[in-house]
């Protein structure tokens, strides 16, 4: 139920946007994300982008992983 799928925001029209999931495109509501930008990655849940995926923080996860090894 809380499944969220990462996708890339490719177009913004007002409060709606088009998100591409590896090529498959879907209209999503962007009203929950502060200042969304085309090209960003977002997590989409039940037709809404619920949060952006942060590049810097994604690197932090990678750092955590590397720390383990």
């Amino acid at each position: 139920m809380c499944l969220g799928v990462p996708g890339k925001l490719v177009k913004i029209t007002g409060v709606k946007g088009i998100v591409s999931f590896g090529g498959a495109k879907m209209e999503v509501d962007l009203s929950l994300v502060e200042k969304p930008r085309v090209g960003e990655y977002v997590i989409v849940h039940a037709g809404f982008a619920i949060e952006r995926i942060d590049r810097a923080n994604a690197r932090e996860t990678i750092r955590l992983l590397r720390e383990v090894f």
Binding site: M1, A46, G47, F48, E51, I53, D54, A58, V68
Partner: protein
């Protein structure tokens, strides 16, 4: 060399070689004692079962599923309420997420049964679709069964703030996760040494929202993402906390969940909803855990609009169904007498066997891969 590009997000976090290295490290660290951790998210249960993580982990580590599937814990009174509303009025269209569609109340009645009896039920992927239906069929009343944790509640809030048509209303079945964890830990029934926290609930509410549980119960917690490596890293972090006595809320899902969550989404949620005591299926009445519409949004509250009350019911589950204990992580689905016999996803006896995130449904789906 580990390379994880954003474009390659999911693949990177499914790396088998890394997963088995991590599992070995975990085995080494967990060799002197046994540990029991609980996650509270249906998507985590799916990741763990689908990728066979329990088999990868040493016997000394037990990972159990808690109350992480919103449709499983939705109280049957809410289902009966929606059915009463639908069946009493010819001009109502009930919209529901697919997960909820076949969930039986404690009397074996579901939205899909109502549909089979000719009532107007439509499955939608998003509340936006429900509003679209209301706009296009303006002579009918569209009532959306709004279910879900904090991951989903902001989308309901935002939709109500975007001026939906007058013939649209909701039954709010939204629930909040931290009060349920508090309730579960206070009950002393679930003996676990740490919690894997749900990544997408936490993306909204932020990981600081669980810090009160550290103060109250000294319980290690880690927010985790949904790929196999996310879960394994989270387990490793939990183990470290337990062993070093350094108890806190840590965040493994850095790429999405922030300390204070999604401020905009939280603000919208606060604008529209207030917390009230709510009954959870299998768990009981949990203080300040239900999201009800504030008085300013009464016109969208189907219970007010149609002046209808939830019927009284005398049981939470059908006789024999052990969903309540499954939801608390006290028994495994296979320990239920009905599992796979009279209860299957095709003909479910309890809520845990319906949703793709229900613990029983997941156990049933992957039962062969574990033989």
């Amino acid at each position: 060399m580990i390379s994880l590009s954003l474009d390659n997000l999911t693949k990177g976090y499914r790396n088998k070689e890394l997963a088995s290295k991590l599992a070995k490290l975990i085995e080494k660290e967990a060799s002197n004692a046994s540990y029991r951790f609980m996650h509270v998210c249906g998507t985590h249960e799916d990741t763990i079962t689908k990728h066979g993580l329990r088999a990868l982990l040493p016997n000394s580590i037990d990972v159990v599923a808690g109350p992480g599937c919103p449709v499983c814990v939705t109280h049957p009174r809410r289902i009966e309420l929606a059915l009463k509303l639908l069946e009493g009025r010819k001009n109502v269209i009930l919209t529901t997420f697919g997960d909820m569609y076949r969930v039986p109340s404690s009397y074996g009645r579901s939205f899909s049964h109502a549909k089979a009896r000719g009532f107007n039920v439509k499955v939608v992927y998003s509340i936006s679709d429900a509003i679209r239906i209301a706009r296009s069929i303006s002579n009918k009343e569209v009532v959306h069964f709004a279910v879900g944790f904090e991951t989903t509640a902001p989308s309901t809030a935002s939709s109500l703030l975007q001026n939906p048509p007058k013939n649209f209303s909701i039954i709010s079945a939204h629930l909040a996760v931290p009060p349920a964890l508090d309730y579960l830990l206070a009950s002393g029934e679930v003996a676990v040494q740490g919690l894997i926290l749900p990544g997408h609930v936490s993306a909204i509410i932020g990981w600081r929202a669980y810090e009160f549980l550290v103060d109250r119960y000294k319980i290690p917690q880690v927010v985790a993402g949904f790929e196999p490596l996310d879960v394994l890293v989270a387990l490793k972090m939990l183990l470290r906390q337990v062993k070093e006595g350094d108890i806190k809320v840590e965040n493994e899902y850095y790429r999405v969940a922030k300390p204070d969550g999604n401020l905009k989404a939280k603000k919208l949620m606060d604008e529209v909803f207030a917390l009230e005591d709510a009954k959870w299926r299998g768990l009981g009445n949990i203080p300040k855990s239900g999201l009800r519409l504030k008085p300013e949004f009464e016109q969208f509250d189907a219970t007010m609009k149609f002046d209808i009350k939830a019927p009284e019911i005398d049981r939470d589950t059908e006789p024999g169904c052990r969903c309540g204990d499954v939801i608390k992580g006290l028994v495994k689905p296979e320990e239920c007498q009905l599992f796979g016999r009279t209860c299957t996803p095709y003909d479910p006896r309890g809520s845990c066997m319906v949703s793709v995130e229900g613990t029983c449904a997941i156990a049933y789906k992957y039962r062969r891969s574990r033989l």
